[in-house]
């Protein structure tokens, strides 16, 4: 299986990339690590006329901590996240993406722009309350994670915009848990749940829960968060809150998981992720 024909450019500045993107029309696509895009092109599900490769564009790499938040260049690959000592939940989630070879190529910016609800990073960004910086013909703007994911593989990044950086609050002092369920280690998540918990004196002062593959977009499990916030953290309160993990979800079913099974998994995994995040496991 091979892609259809397309033209290719590897601009050396962001301005050039934006110009190429704007000039190329709707079927021009950005190429970052290519590990979401190229498989779809090989299957001829996506048929771009032109690819604009961001590989040579400066300023899209690197990870710095700024004002309690991590700025992560959009071209940062998953393996860099995985092996970073201070990224906590993000690092853990990145370590479960596909396999080592894919993690050497796939990028955080590409993954978020792709907006696949079965991918690991979107729900993490959502739960952490992060954002992305995007640059387009209209200049730079910040898109909050809550506004980023619009529908199945659809984001609010405009066709002529480039994600340049990802901002993830450091959330110092938060415990985290990540529970990904798949049949085989290299598979996409059937369901995954990430949890961030800030506790003081055994009481849950803050909690954020993200759900992967429980709808056409990643979701926050707000019902769980509301049920647990302000409550003492123990097995019973976590179990009670986790019961609400599938509220307001609309999980897509497939051969190996009906919506009912996925709702069940969300509750089980939520309990486990919260338990882990609360340090009770």
């Amino acid at each position: 299986m091979i892609p259809t024909e397309f033209d290719y450019a590897a601009p050396e500045s962001l301005d050039d990339a934006l110009w190429l993107l704007g000039e190329g029309g709707e079927e021009t696509r950005l190429l970052a690590g290519g590990h979401s895009l190229i498989p779809l092109m090989k299957l001829r599900v996506v048929v771009p006329t032109k690819l604009v490769d961001l590989r040579k564009v400066p300023g899209l790499d690197g990870m710095q901590r700024e004002d309690g938040s991590w700025r992560i260049g959009a071209m940062t690959v998953h393996s860099e996240l995985e092996h970073h000592p201070d990224l906590g939940l993000l690092s853990r989630a990145a370590s479960t993406i596909a396999d080592p070879q894919v993690r050497h190529c796939g990028t955080i910016g590409g993954s978020l722009a792709h907006g696949d609800p079965a991918s690991d990073l979107p729900a993490v960004l959502l739960a952490a309350g992060g954002s992305v910086s995007a640059q387009g013909s209209g200049g730079p703007r910040t898109i909050e994670a809550a506004d980023l994911f619009k529908d199945y593989m659809t984001t609010s990044v405009a066709p002529d915009e480039v994600i340049t950086a990802v901002h993830v609050p450091a959330l110092d002092g938060y415990g985290y848990g990540y529970q990904k369920f798949n049949r085989r280690a290299e598979d996409w998540a059937m369901v995954a749940v990430c949890a961030l918990v800030y506790a003081r004196d055994g009481v849950c002062e803050d909690v954020r829960v993200g759900l992967t593959h429980m709808a056409s977009t990643p979701l926050r499990a707000t019902a769980v968060e509301e049920a647990l916030r302000g409550q003492p953290l123990y097995a019973g309160s976590i179990a009670e809150a986790a019961e609400r993990a599938a509220d307001a979800t609309n999980p897509p079913g497939d051969l190996n998981a009906t919506p009912a099974y996925k709702r069940h998994l969300a509750r089980v995994l939520c309990q486990r992720a919260l338990t882990e995040a609360a340090g009770l496991s």
């Binding site: 024909e5 290719y8 590990h35 070879q101």
Partner: protein, 169 residues
């Protein structure tokens, strides 16, 4: 055909100038332009890992990389890892521990194994299994592949094969 693009690429230490269609997959450029057929294709979906090579020193699936993305970069294939006269320790270990049967997944599996040891010198069994979770083998059940990678990392493993000179002794 879309306009071809010049690509300068270093493969197994040798520099090459290629003119390729933008859609040319790296694996096909290696196999068909450069005649390096040790890198195989086993699927359409980046699942099987038979095409694993090293790009700038790390393992990637060359069926999911465009040749044009490799301009100015360095590739190592199984042919560059070692030859029959000068085997890489990982190749030696796969032979010694019967880590292959039909051999089709083997180049990719060896390249993934080397990549793991570049990151982790003494991996646990679980680390080895997860490091090759993107490399499918239908023949071996992975048992002897795991042993081979353990052995290549210098860790003690039970003997698998017997040397012929031992037989003669």
């Amino acid at each position: 055909m879309s306009a071809t693009v010049p690509v300068r690429i270093t493969v197994n230490g040798a520099s090459h100038q290629l003119d390729v269609e933008p859609r040319r997959l790296l694996v096909h450029a290696l196999r068909e332009e450069l005649g390096l057929t040790g890198t195989h294709v086993g699927c359409d979906t980046s699942s099987c890992g038979a095409c694993t090579i090293h790009l700038d020193g790390v393992a990637v699936k060359s069926c999911t990389v465009l040749a044009v993305q490799c301009d100015g970069r360095e590739v190592t294939t199984i042919e560059g890892l070692g030859s029959t006269d000068d085997l890489h320790p990982m190749q030696e270990a796969f032979w010694e521990h019967h880590g292959l049967q039909c051999g089709y997944c083997t180049p990719g599996m060896i390249m993934a194994g080397v990549d793991l040891l570049n990151r982790t010198s003494q991996p646990s069994e679980s680390e080895i299994r997860h490091a090759i979770e993107g490399n499918l083998c239908r023949c071996t059940g992975y048992h002897n592949i795991v042993k081979a990678i353990q052995a290549a990392s210098g860790q003690q493993t039970e003997a698998t094969s017997q040397a012929r000179d031992e037989v003669q002794a």
